[in-house]
């Protein structure tokens, strides 16, 4: 068997083993590289999905915030004409909207939480005051109630502007 003789003479088997090891190492390196690439691609995809979710939630928060300020203006108008029955529904709706804004906002911070908490406290007190006045058929100082609401609208509007600015600078 001259072929086998030639392989034995020139130690082709050893060379093949060395080549095999080298090929395995290169293959392993390529595999590691591909795994890394696919992991970073998956991470990038996840980050992009998170950014998109954040952006959508940011838009929803801005919409809810606009709705909250619109309801506050409506409440002021109802105060001016002294319509108590629709007022109670609007207080409750506004409180729910503000609670949702705070829970859902991706841009929440301490200042925003405090401003919303202050507005929620004002509304809860108004709701209680109006309910009691309605039950007792007593008069209410709507001018003072509107002063408190106007103060809270101004503060919420400041937070709203900050939120829009921050939301606009998000990726």
């Amino acid at each position: 068997m001259p072929a086998l003789q030639w392989i034995a003479t020139y130690r082709i088997g050893d060379l093949a083993s060395i080549a095999g090891v080298a090929i395995s190492l290169v293959g392993f390196a390529v595999t590691v590289l591909n795994v890394r690439r696919s992991r970073s691609a998956a991470e990038r995809a996840e980050a992009a999905a998170n950014d998109a979710r954040r952006l959508v939630r940011g838009y929803e928060t801005i919409t809810d915030f606009s709705a909250a300020i619109a309801i506050m203006e409506e409440i002021k108008r109802l105060h001016r004409v002294g319509q108590i029955d629709p007022l109670l529904d609007r207080y409750a709706a506004l409180r729910k909207t503000l609670i949702e804004v705070r829970k859902m906002s991706p841009l929440a911070n301490q200042n925003m939480d405090q401003v919303i908490q202050n507005a929620i406290t004002t509304l809860a007190s108004m709701e209680d005051l109006v309910e009691r006045a309605r039950a007792a058929r007593s008069a209410l100082n709507f001018v003072q109630l509107n002063q408190r609401l106007s103060r809270d609208i101004d503060e919420l509007y400041g937070v709203f502007v900050d939120m829009k600015r921050e939301g606009g600078s998000q990726p």
Binding site: D113, V115, Q117, N118, T121, S125, L129, L145, R151
Partner: protein, 112 residues
């Protein structure tokens, strides 16, 4: 145990109010003032009892707007009555901007 926490609360509110680190605001109820924290707020109210005697009451409001606790000066010892009144008057001054008004008036009077 609860009144000990109320005392701690009043002490810390006095310290922070004196340092002007709290944003006291006028409340909705007559003679009331409120301060908000990220998840809770406090209101301090001057009320009248059945004999028309004035007393102070403090309420804790949660993030949904519900009053979760309330205590009055009657739940506290005498020295804390005085502290609560001191806090109420300082909160009132800050919420109404009394010190700023006085400063502005004093500056204006210098020009006369």
């Amino acid at each position: 145990m609860r009144s000990e926490k109320y005392r701690q609360l009043i002490d810390r509110l006095i310290t922070k109010t004196d340092r002007r680190e709290l944003a006291w605001k006028e409340g909705v109820y007559p003679d009331s003032f409120q301060v908000a924290f990220p998840n809770y707020s406090l209101t301090i109210i001057q009320r009248q009892d059945d004999r028309d005697e004035i007393f102070l009451e403090m309420s804790i409001i949660n993030s949904d707007g519900y009053t979760i606790d309330r205590f009055s000066e009657f739940d506290l010892e005498q020295d804390y009555h005085n502290k609560l009144y001191g806090l109420y008057h300082e909160a009132r001054r800050q919420a109404l901007g009394v010190d700023k008004a006085l400063d502005d008036i004093l500056i204006a009077l210098e020009d006369y």
